[in-house]
Symmetry: C2
Subunit: 231 residues, 2 copies
């Protein structure tokens, strides 16, 4: 059973959502039958490769929402605490926002090599916990090689526009599905859940989808009548 998750790298709740999905999968009896695919969603397609590191995350939020810096700091603190409860160490103090288009292109390369989940995890940790500038190609290259991708192949992707179309296709499908926030979970192509919901909600989604896919089309579950009689 396939799970598509639309998400970005520069997205705190996407990392939380990944942890919660993992917690749900750990309790899902058929987890070995799951194919997990990370789909691209850029929160800011116009972001520069690396933003000005002199401006703090709280200040950026403060300007964006026109709220006092103290309020922005409160929002950040709430995200940090929620993430900590899920075992994640968010370091907004060292965050280095940037453009994630190239990161998504590398995730497509990683998918072809069976390393997509590993790279997704590496990129999220790099961005949210380690203060890595995930908009810089040198950083991306190092992180991709970290998880086992071939250095030459990674460089070839970064030096070209390879997988750019695939990223745009992910985003076009997100748009068709009406997805305007991430993470967004789609199980078996049609069972959906929006946002970083608790593992219980994700497990319920997986269970429902699994039951529906397993439901035999013929009347063999409940008592029923067929051309050969009732049973």
């Amino acid at each position: 059973m396939r799970i598509d998750v639309w998400s970005d790298i520069a997205c705190p709740w996407c990392y939380v959502g990944k942890r919660r999905l993992e917690a749900a999968l750990a309790r899902f009896p058929q987890k070995d039958s799951i194919e997990l695919v990370w789909r691209a969603f850029e929160l800011d397609t116009q972001a520069p490769p690396v933003r000005d590191p002199q401006v703090s995350y709280a200040e950026r939020l403060s300007r964006k929402y026109s709220v006092p810096v103290a309020d922005a700091q409160g929002m950040i603190e709430r995200m940090r605490r929620t993430a900590a409860a899920d075992g994640l160490d968010f370091r907004f103090d060292r965050i280095r926002p940037g453009n994630t288009f190239n990161a998504h292109r590398l995730l497509h390369l990683a998918h072809k090599n069976g390393l997509q989940d590993a790279l997704k995890e590496r990129l999220l940790r790099a961005y949210l916990s380690e203060g890595e500038a995930i908009g810089e190609t040198a950083v991306l290259r190092r992180l991709a090689v970290d998880v086992g991708l071939d250095d030459t192949e990674v460089q070839a992707v970064l030096d070209s526009d390879r997988f750019g179309l695939e990223v745009r296709q992910d985003e076009a499908e997100a748009s068709e599905r009406g997805i305007r926030g991430v993470p967004f979970f789609v199980v078996a192509g049609r069972f959906t859940l929006s946002g970083a919901q608790p593992p219980d909600a994700l497990l319920q989604l997986l269970t429902t989808a699994w039951q529906q896919l397993q439901a035999p089309p013929a009347g063999s579950e409940g008592e029923s009548c067929g051309p050969e009689g009732c049973g």
Copy 2:
């Protein structure tokens, strides 16, 4: 939210399934938003209008399955008891099997007149509890008028092939969906349940379907990030 139920008249479990669906709907908070449509499924398209009433239902089952009459009687008794637990009085001793094509044509007429559920109930009761020959046009006409259909209109349908195509379309869709036994429930066109399952299972199906249909496409349920920020 639409519920399509494929079923026949000459079908004990279909009547049980109808009662269980009603029990589930009684506990479904959004029951006023439900549109219930009964779809045609003939268990025996080749059945004669009325079968030989000299052969008991147990004897018919016995011949069909090549089992002793006593075993067939046991199957019947099991169905009778299950139905009784759902408040239904099955009288296999007086049953008069017949062809149900015309009954299904009238159900399409009744649907156009907002009386489909009433006629479905009337036909099932007539067949399974009252020993009515639901393959006979005179009987069908009386039962249809019972629930409020216009006598002239009913007769016009019975005298023509009107709604025959609609019945065949129902059955073609059942075939496409792989339905080989009834009752078969389809909620919102895609959430399915096979057989007369307990009200709890039907309620779970309705709840799942409702939640999925209500799920907002944007990230407003769980915590998520969008182009305007994280919240």
